[in-house]
Subunit: 567 residues, 2 copies
């Protein structure tokens, strides 16, 4: 087997049965038979061959001695042939015919019409030595279409190997930083097209850059997959998104069709396809489904949990037998909560904090080890844990002036903890955490724990100990130190080894779909099988929430591993 | 039920379930549910909704109070939604929203983003009285794509009613009169595109004229179906046709996909679709399948036969249980035979001939009753029958000088029968049938009978008497007088009532596909179930052929109803 044709994935080497008298099956149908044979049990209802490939199919098949590499995609409906490429030249005997002169084989001698024979060039391919041509790569691109940031991974579709990645701010931010502002803009005349243009142009220029950096060509990209929340997916496709934010919160579509990339404006191979992950509702997007896929939640024999701590807290718990999801605004508890816990990660942003309990010496780590300019969510969780464990805040999350000593100052009458002195900061000002910031964090961590408790215990009927894996997804989640998060009672006190940071699971899922043709059906099954529950912020929730607002919790027995602090 | 929504066919009136809190199914998926419900058992694997319809789906559904007319097509793979139109305005309460201002319903009061509110027009649709709008018609066009002539029928897709027909010479004739010349031309650089452009431009201009004549607009045409022989179908689609005429005679495709009409260059509705009938091989085209469909051969409980006497003699015999077809060049017997039997029908062409045996008075009928200019195939069959029955030719088909008297003259030493004296002709010259012409007709009629005998008796194991119906299709076939054809031994001597002239069965089948969604599956089943046999011109065939070259046959017992002539 050729190294470029691993016999799985979306690039397959095929050999088509040659036509003979007595079997008058057409070229396209013999090609389909060869593809079905190659796909075996996966073939399903067949392979759709697009009209544009038919135009030159007969001369290509004959010039390639009825061998070819097929670029495929598995659709909702069936397999689709995306393009047909010359076979890999293991021996220098096949080449791609020139498109303008398809008649490279000698015409049959019985042809009666020989008008203008000078216009028909006769070539002998069989005997002429032909220079082997370096086959072009067959590439794919996976996208995480975040509201804030977009990340693209370039892959070799034949080997499945990742070639490179590029990240950039979602260019729609010029319209508005959040989903709401953009959807409102999309509702104005021309607004939807403008938003679509912004994101598609951004993807095109970054794809071009990514390809340049990897010495390849965007025209060799045949498949693009993408996962994003429901609103970003709608805006990417230029379909009406307004009803997403208006009661009863209905997306235009749950399952975007596979599209011609060109139609949407993506500047890849002319025959290239685009597929964006389906959603389950306005508040449960394709990014979550991509995460479930990437975490193999739908394959696990034991229950697992995945939490995506991003703009919203989105949680899925389940196994191969069942999946329960909970997502969306968690009411006042999360409003301006988790999402506003800190600044976005970037150079100079504090992402790790330790405090020596005896010396009260504060150590911070910044991204790219630049001078500190602020603190991000994971840094705040670290800081809150350190403050709690060193006894500088009480179980209600209030600063203890007597313990904090000179690290606590009053700014506008609000007690504020000086994390970095202005002498050491990159802004020229003290970097502080005020009691207001800390209260916000306390609400957020309490909301997170309560939501986890509701979905695991109340809804699924499990205990946290029953969870075999606890996946933390999302960019923010990637940086969280589980020990710190447990110490402040944000995450449940289970064995640390069960926590697994997934990283960009949305991108991971989109890339998986490019590597594994079986992933498509899994996506559709995940979508079908998930039970989506609205988080019901009722009296019981508020009672649970109140207990979770303590450090780590009013019920200390839930956090046996967290040391009792000295406060 | 609305008269415009008969509840079958490709236009359906639907009502979509309105969204509520607690059911967050997206608009597209609720639309699909409504379509599936409307289609019932026919729905199959679902209905594909194109991306272009999603763009404005949410605001249209709401403006139309979740009612709509759906234009559909049934594909190889599944149903496809072609377009969604406003519901029929039985009461003046719905209208189509203006595309540039989709926000015609009052935005939710909870919307936080009110930037640039002056750009958002608020309208009260529910209470405003709206003028009823005359709904636009939903049209379809069926094509018979003949090598020589193209005929288009315009239909109302809602009622299934034919609105008009137009016929015109295939504009590809400027390249060459026959299939061979055109396929050779298509093989030259740019030749295929040129041929496709010719036929598509011709269809466009004639569609425009047909629409003008019927006071409608080509932009209201949503579906175009077409049936033609395999070569014409390939050239229409611009796909390589060269292998059709080169051993082993392989089409590029047996089953053309449903295409966007715009992609092929057809100037109809932007979202319109084109479907051309599939073929069974290079010599058994979609026109024949359309004929089988039109004749309901695949539904008949008793065996029937259909013969299309066109450029080739193409024959299908069978019933709902089995179908056997035989088509293509019948070797030397038919070479230049049936196809060259006369001139093409047109004004002044003799299509019917009678000879009074006693007075030898020849009466001719011409098309449009113009002065005679020549004779077409059906006229020649009539003439041969009349000559034979009046004893003017012998059983070998040779003129009997003594009987013909002064009607027989020698032209270049060849005995020729003067059918019309130059004084009465439209050409200023005698219109004659020479012995050479007659010999050619004799060969042709013998070939036809032999092929019929082979396929009915030798291949199907039937007798002619077992045929419940004997369909004669094709333009040429439409004019044949079965009594004359039997008299000369061209068609078998069965009860005259069993003969049925189908007319343009290719056009009829293409039109049927626009009227009946069940037709698509029948087409695919016909294609699958047909046994296609190559006519084997061996010694046995030649023996049978020799017997059939007599008038009506060496075996007179086969033609008991034909009077014994006086020769």
């Amino acid at each position: 087997m050729s190294p470029n044709c691993p016999g799985s994935g979306f690039v397959r080497c095929i050999e088509i049965e040659k036509p003979v008298l007595g079997n008058n099956t057409a070229d396209a149908q013999r090609l389909e038979q060869a593809l079905k044979k190659e796909l075996g049990n996966e073939a399903g209802s067949g392979v759709k061959i697009p009209w544009c490939l038919l135009k030159t199919l007969p001369s290509f098949l004959r010039a390639w001695d009825h061998k070819a590499r097929a670029v495929l995609f598995k659709d909702c409906q069936s397999w689709r042939l995306v393009d047909l490429l010359p076979p890999n030249l293991m021996e220098p005997e096949q080449t791609e015919p020139e498109q303008t002169e398809p008649d490279q084989t000698e015409p049959d001698q019985t042809e009666p019409d020989q008008t203008e024979p000078d216009q028909i060039k006769l070539k002998q391919t069989k005997s002429d030595p032909i220079e082997p041509v370096q086959p072009r790569p067959v590439l794919g691109a996976a996208m995480d279409i975040g509201t804030t940031r977009i990340v693209i991974m370039l892959l070799d579709l034949e080997s499945g190997r990742a070639l490179g990645e590029i990240g950039f701010d979602n260019p729609q931010a010029v319209i508005g930083p959040d989903v709401l502002a953009r959807i409102h803009h999309s509702h104005k005349p021309g607004g939807g097209d403008q938003l679509q243009g912004l994101v598609v142009d951004g993807v095109n220029s970054n794809l071009a850059r990514l390809c340049r950096e990897n010495n390849c060509d965007t025209k060799d990209i045949y498949l693009v997959t993408g996962a994003g929340n429901t609103a970003m997916t709608h805006l990417f496709l230029g379909i009406e998104a307004f009803e997403i934010i208006r009661e009863p919160y209905i997306p235009c579509t749950n399952i975007p069709d596979t599209l011609k990339a060109k139609e949407v404006g993506l500047d890849i191979h002319d025959k290239g396809l685009l597929f964006l992950f389906p959603n389950i509702g306005s508040y449960f997007g394709g990014d979550l489904i991509a995460g479930i896929l990437f975490a193999d939640l739908d394959k696990s024999s034991e229950p697992c949990l995945m939490v995506d701590v991003g703009t919203n807290a989105e949680i899925v718990v389940g196994s191969r037998d069942w999946l329960i999801a909970c997502a969306g605004a968690a009411g006042p508890a999360l409003e301006g909560g988790v999402s506003k816990m800190g600044m976005t990660a970037g150079p100079g942003v504090i992402d790790r904090v330790t405090i020596d309990p005896s010396s009260q010496r504060v150590d911070v780590h910044t991204i790219e080890e630049k001078k500190p300019v602020g603190i991000c969510g994971s840094g705040m969780i670290d800081l809150a844990a350190a403050l709690f464990l060193s006894g500088m805040i009480d179980i209600r999350g209030k600063f203890i002036k007597e313990v904090c000593n000179n690290l606590l100052v009053d700014i506008n009458d609000i007690p504020s903890f000086v994390l970095v002195d202005k002498a050491d900061s990159g802004t020229g000002r003290d970097i502080v955490l005020s009691q207001v910031d800390l209260n916000s964090l306390t609400s957020s961590k309490a909301a997170m724990y309560t939501i986890l408790e509701v979905i695991v215990k109340n809804t699924s009927g499990l205990e946290f100990e029953d969870l075999e894996r606890f996946y933390v997804a999302g960019t923010f989640g990637s940086f969280i130190n589980p020990v710190s998060a447990i110490s402040i009672g944000m995450l449940p006190d289970i064995d640390r080894s069960r926590f697994k940071v997934l990283g960009n699971s949305s991108l991971g899922g989109a890339a998986l779909l490019l590597r594994d043709p079986l992933a498509f059906d899994r996506i559709m099954e995940i979508r079908q099988s998930i039970t989506y529950i609205e988080l019901n912020v009722n009296q019981e929730f508020m009672n649970m929430f109140s207990g979770a607002k303590f450090y780590p919790h009013t019920d200390r027995a839930r956090f046996p591993s967290v040391p009792i602090n000295s406060a």
